[in-house]
């Protein structure tokens, strides 16, 4: 068994061994990174490929792009997702546009790693869940895995991709254990993982909320309701076909995400299913539109929990 963060470490290690053009830049990465996700890399690959940078997020991002344009494959480490706000011009106006804007001349082959989500009461500037912003942004791939094997396989794909891949590391799941193959094969973008099959309703979720969804499904199962659970894994491209087919079959779709419900990616999924499978009963479950508070009872009050997912499922089943 391997923890998720170790699986990510092994995936990056494998790819850096395989391809000398792959390198990593970000704060403290030469010391193994904030979460140990680059532990031992400096010793193996040296300071030219494992670059501890100044606290200069705009340049970390922009330099990663520049280095990609000349043929390297940088892993751009943002340390914690929230700091990408300091690099938004480089990400949104430059990286996401450069291939298109220059008529396909540019190849922004880079991965931006952003450990995101609620984590140890880290409050408003270290816990945000804003993946929907980036799903809205043309020109990038958006990946948000929840298991060690998925994280590793999708990171391998991300590193090998010629597109800019925004990789949302689920930092609250870094300690979750699972099997990871010796040789990590790439997992294609845009395919769901079917966590369990069921006929009562379909629940779609991703990233750090998956364990809560599975707990909620266990509660439903104890009452004789079988939930089909799909882990979306990628928000762009996303597996419309699998989601629509499952929703059509069960007749009910609940989308649950850790992010704020308003304008979340759940809204996109629901709208898509409403268009393509009219008649399916639809619901979503996310956080209220409130910044992340620090104090545990306040965080508990707004975060999505198994109980809230069960309640949302019950409302959907009652319709």
């Amino acid at each position: 068994m391997t923890t998720l963060v170790e699986a990510l470490r092994l995936a990056a290690l494998q790819e850096m061994k395989r391809d000398p053009r792959v390198w990593v830049l970000g704060e403290d990465v030469a010391r193994g990174g904030l979460f140990g996700q680059y532990r031992g890399f400096l010793e193996k690959f040296g300071p030219d490929r494992v670059v501890s940078t100044p606290i200069s997020e705009a340049v970390i991002m922009g330099a990663g792009l520049g280095a990609a344009l000349v043929g390297t494959r940088p892993i751009i480490e943002m340390r914690i997702f929230d700091f990408v706000m300091c690099a938004m011009d480089e990400l949104v106006n430059q990286i996401a546009k450069i291939r298109y804007m220059f008529g396909g001349q540019a190849r922004p082959s880079l991965v931006v790693r952003m450990p995101h989500g609620l984590w140890r009461n880290s409050a408003a500037q270290h816990s945000q869940v804003l993946e929907a912003w980036f799903a809205h942004l043309p020109g990038v791939v958006v990946v948000a895995p929840s298991t060690p094997a998925d994280a590793a396989g999708l990171l391998v794909s991300a590193i090998r991709s010629d597109d800019p891949v925004l990789f949302f590391d689920p930092k609250n799941l870094f300690g979750v254990e699972g099997e990871v193959p010796e040789v990590i094969e790439p997992i294609p973008f845009g395919r769901v993982r079917r966590v369990q099959s069921g006929n009562g309703l379909t629940i779609v979720s991703w990233s750090a909320l998956m364990p809560a969804v599975q707990q909620a499904a266990a509660v439903l199962a104890s009452r004789g309701i079988g939930a089909e659970i799909l882990d979306l894994r990628c928000l762009w491209p996303w597996d419309q076909a699998a989601v629509v087919a499952s929703a059509r079959r069960t007749g009910r779709l609940l989308v649950a995400h850790e992010a704020v419900e308003v304008g979340g990616f759940g809204a996109e999924i629901i709208a898509c299913v409403a268009e393509h499978a009219p008649g399916v009963k639809l619901a979503r479950c996310g956080m209220p539109r409130v910044p992340l508070p620090f104090s545990p009872p306040l965080e508990e009050a707004i975060k999505v929990t198994p109980a809230k997912i069960v309640a949302a499922a019950d409302r959907l089943l009652a319709r």
Binding site: P54, I55, E57, C86, R120, V290, F294, S295, A301
Partner: protein, 323 residues
Amino acid sequence: MNATTANAAHWLALHRSMCRIRAFEETALAAHQAGDIPGPLHVSIGQEAVAAGVCLNLRREDRITSNHRGHGHALAKGAGVAGMMEELHGRAGGHCGGKGGSMHIADFSVGMLGANGVVAGGIPIAVGAAQGLKLLGLDHIAVCFFGDGAINRGPFLEGLNWAALYRLPVLFVCEDNGVAAFTRAADVTAGPGVVARAAALGVPAVTVDGNDVGAVDAAAARLVAEVRGGAGPRLLHAQTYRHTGHTSTDAAAWRPADEVAAAKQGEPIARFEARLLAEGVATAAELAAVREDALAEMQAARAAAMAAPWPDPATAFSDVLGA
């Protein structure tokens, strides 16, 4: 230097301020290690002279902004201890009602406009506060605390240029503890450093021994007077040392033990106490009493915070918008 009665009182205030910060930090660290304080915690043990030496030269109406390691700045500026300790413990009576925590402490009632979870995040805010104060015709100033790691972020350049351009009443304080998280600042900072960078942007800057509270105090007094007098922005570069790791869970084991030991030798409180004794400002017993009082104050605040009510979960939904 001879201790006149007036500066003897000021020196004792500096000493007391440092002791209160130290006691607060040690108490908070223990509380975090006991699992009573959630979230990340960055303490400033070893850096007390900078907060005390600067803030004791400020008025209540002067504003400060701070960074993630901001307890000392807040305390020295006069933030209430009960509200700080409750905030760290996530309780309803915290300065931010439990919404902020250690990294987002603010006490606007004493001009403390907030710690910040984003490195260099406080620089533009301080510059703007100074601009607003100037616009209002007030002679209050803004002081901005940040670490040596912050000078590699864009807001440092943008903020200093702006402050110099508009001759704003802002004192920048670069608290240089030599490290940024787990990396030595020198390993990621090119050129001669923060003073030269400030000078290049038209902001006069001075370096002081940030573990010598007398030196910090003297430099701050002069720079604050210049800033308040309308001379434009100034920068104080205070060299100090972070005794602990980056956060309460980081042992900073990568630092050579002899380096840490040497730094602890020159730590600011003991050093200043030696001077106070030599100058006859206080007796050893008096100084020890100050330390003990400070510790008792903080431990009482911690006990009170532990007994204080958690916030009503309904308050999670308040303050999102003003209406």
